[in-house]
Symmetry: C2
Subunit: 461 residues, 2 copies
């Protein structure tokens, strides 16, 4: 039992941060450290079996930075704690994010070490933003990347998101539906996502509807009367008998029968699809489609497609909704420059690329055969290598969005489609790669990294 | 870019549902199906390697049911879609949840097949509630169950939640911090969780703070001046050199040195802890504790404890925050009775226990040696087996909370502690069980299940 709302909104999001961000910021403030900082958000290694990730979540990161402020309730709470002085809390009340952001547009395939975004601004707000910016970019990149695999596995058949009930909380349900749209899903069952994002929503019926009726045939009849072009769930009792009940309904309704599809949700989906198809076809119901769901992931979808199972669309829930094989990324938000100097840390295995950077995607081939060959991570002011296209866009300046930071969800979806199509064929399969996609660090950035490391070793040791 | 808020609150939560819930409810409404339904929320099987789960999330499920209503924006959206009639949407505007709920109190260990909660009420609201009730109970049960393992592994040492940045969205961050408190964590880094739930918040410093200073020693000095009893992060450059910098600071400050602990965040934590302990002890800093973090989960925590590493507390983030080994449960919310009749479905492997039920935990032994021996799932009106204690409590009646539905977070935490202590020792370890904890279905419930199955086979086939 709690009297305060457990929901996060624009109004309280600034307080959704790690305590150490606030203690550090009070220290910066007290020490007069108000120089410009650069933070870089990137991931270190690909999850096992993955070939690339799809960048997503920038929109919510920018929304947070735009609306970032501590409201009266947050300030009252902080003032009541021993760590924070009244003077600091008052100063915090006026703090806004007024810095710059460069980022990979949503829908861009991203490889290890490449900045998904870089934040440059006064260190206080840039530091405080870490937790929520990471939380949102991490979540949506995890879910968009997983969904892209399911879409690839479905090989052109529609994939619909059924995951809301087992995704991790309400925010994951919303942002997931958004990320899925970017990744190319046909729709989501999440009605609020339809309202907020304008994404297509879809749904059929549940077993409970059939169970609430005294017989399956009666349930089908009632549902089809109200929703003539519906999808009927046939596996509540006996799947093939359920299909026969659909056929009986078709005979009963004659020309009024417009049911669009049946849904299989359990059992051996490949075999049941074949036998259901036969029953439907023999009854002249060739145009009734078969939709499959029930514990699917990209591997089972790919297996069904490979077997030639006559399935026209897939409903995918939990495995995609929690990205079961890779629910987390080793994403990091690291200080790479402060007060005009490159910064890094020397902890084993966690070497940082200092300063502001750019990522170039070097493409080869012409027209349809054009493909990404390698990426180069460089210093922000380096020239593009031959054939190299800069990926990081300037999306926010002085705390306000630039045109590149205003991208519709459909534009992000189109970018994901186009950019994924440019990847080498071997990256688009589900199998782990023998040879990963090459990501190089430019000579200029490498030299700068060594220079900074030498300086830091001299000072820090 | 979206003009509508992407945040879920009490005001729009009713629309955070699967589209099929709404289409089914319109069908129920049109068909005049307004009888009482019973829905049962349970999970089918334990994730691999798990011995029990810790029930959590009831508070948010009840909050949702209490505040459930479609606001003007939701109604406008639905009215604008082809599926829904104006008349139905108007009716929906007046719909409230006015039913009853029985539930396992938060912090109760729960086994496969046992209802975490049962909802009885008019079918419309009970059906519509499915998605969000599942979403919240699933999330918090996943996270509390994982955290209970980390707490067990730490064997009395403090465990602090560092997961917010990589948990799945803002809601997971909030509800996770709540679930972790129930499971026995010492605190969370999540400041807003501290504000909303009153749970202890904790934090140290990040590498960026050290990096923003020209040398580590200067960073330590400045931080300890502001926060004398702080925890200093020693691995930004060279861990043992960092520990020596702490020793130097202690010499410099003399009696004013009150630093509480150092934090190790990378490298071989067992070895670094031993060597750090030596350095600290040799300098007379025996009372400075060692806190460890960096990619920890219950197994690495247990290994550090088993090795006798001199670590006094653990910060655990991502692996716990996404429940990496088991990010999802096969939880289900199934219709088990409607209009006074038991209901089930016959899909393979998914057999339902019909009707309203009770779970009895049968205990054996006396005093300190008292332990749970087996559970019995029975019909709601059955008598308790000898030594059996009923676990499901009546928490809501007529849409309003009963006293058993008003439980503070600290009470839930205490319940988790006490109930977990009653489990047989073998269930509290991290290893998979050779023999699972016995869960029986009472003869009465089994007979009822067969009776319903026979009736349903007769009707549905």
């Amino acid at each position: 039992m709690s009297d305060r709302s457990p929901w996060v909104t624009d109004e309280n999001a600034a307080l959704l941060t790690d305590l150490y961000q606030l203690t550090m910021v009070q220290a910066y403030w007290r020490e007069g450290l108000d120089g410009d900082a650069v933070f870089s958000l990137y991931y270190r290694t690909l999850p096992e079996g993955r070939s690339y990730l799809l960048a997503c979540g920038l929109e919510d990161a920018l929304r947070f930075l735009e609306t970032f402020r501590f409201g009266p309730d947050a300030l009252e709470f902080l003032a009541g704690r021993d760590e924070f002085s009244r003077e600091f809390v008052d100063w915090l009340g006026g703090l806004r994010f007024e810095g710059d952001v460069w980022a990979l547009p949503e829908g861009t395939p991203v490889f290890p070490g490449e900045p998904l975004l870089e934040v440059r601004g006064e260190i206080a707000a840039a530091q405080l933003a870490e937790t929520l910016v990471m939380n949102q970019v991490h979540l949506q990149t995890v879910l968009a990347s997983k969904a892209a695999r399911v879409v690839a596995a479905a090989a052109g058949r529609a994939v619909v998101d059924f995951g809301l009930r087992r995704m991790h909380g309400t925010d994951a349900g919303m942002k997931g539906a958004r990320a899925y749209h970017v990744a190319g899903l046909a729709g989501t069952s999440n009605v609020l996502a339809g309202r907020v994002y304008g994404v297509p929503i879809a749904g059929t019926m549940a077993h409970s509807y059939v169970q609430a009726h005294d017989d399956e045939q009666g349930a089908f009849r009632a549902f089809a009367e109200l929703y003539p072009e519906t999808v009927l769930l046939v596996d509540t009792y006996d799947t093939l008998e359920g299909v026969r009940n659909v056929v009986r309904l078709a005979r009963e309704l004659g020309d009024d029968f417009r049911v669009r599809a049946i849904r299989l949700d359990s059992g051996d989906l490949a075999e049941l699809a074949v036998r259901s198809r036969e029953i439907l076809d023999q009854a002249g119901l060739e145009r009734v489609e078969i939709f499959a769901s029930g514990g699917l992931d990209e591997h089972s979808v790919a297996a069904l497609v490979a077997k030639g199972a006559p399935i026209d669309g897939f409903g995918v829930g939990t495995a995609m909704g929690v990205s079961k094989d890779a629910p987390a990324l080793d994403i990091a938000y690291k200080l790479t420059a402060y007060a005009g100097k490159g910064r890094l840390k020397l902890s084993p295995g966690k070497k940082i690329l200092p300063g502001r950077k750019q990522v170039f995607r070097v493409e080869e081939g012409e027209g349809e055969a054009r493909r990404a060959a390698r990426d180069v991570i460089a210093r922000a002011d380096e020239e593009a290598p031959p054939g190299g296209r800069p990926l990081l866009a300037h999306v926010m300046a002085g705390g306000r969005r630039l045109p590149a930071g205003r991208v519709s969800l459909d534009q992000a979806r189109e970018r994901a489609r186009a950019e994924t199509a440019l990847l080498p064929e071997r990256l688009r399969g589900l199998e782990p790669l023998a040879e990963p996609y090459p990501v190089e660090v430019s000579a200029g950035l490498r030299a700068f990294q060594e220079e900074v490391a030498l300086r830091v070793e001299g000072e820090g040791g």
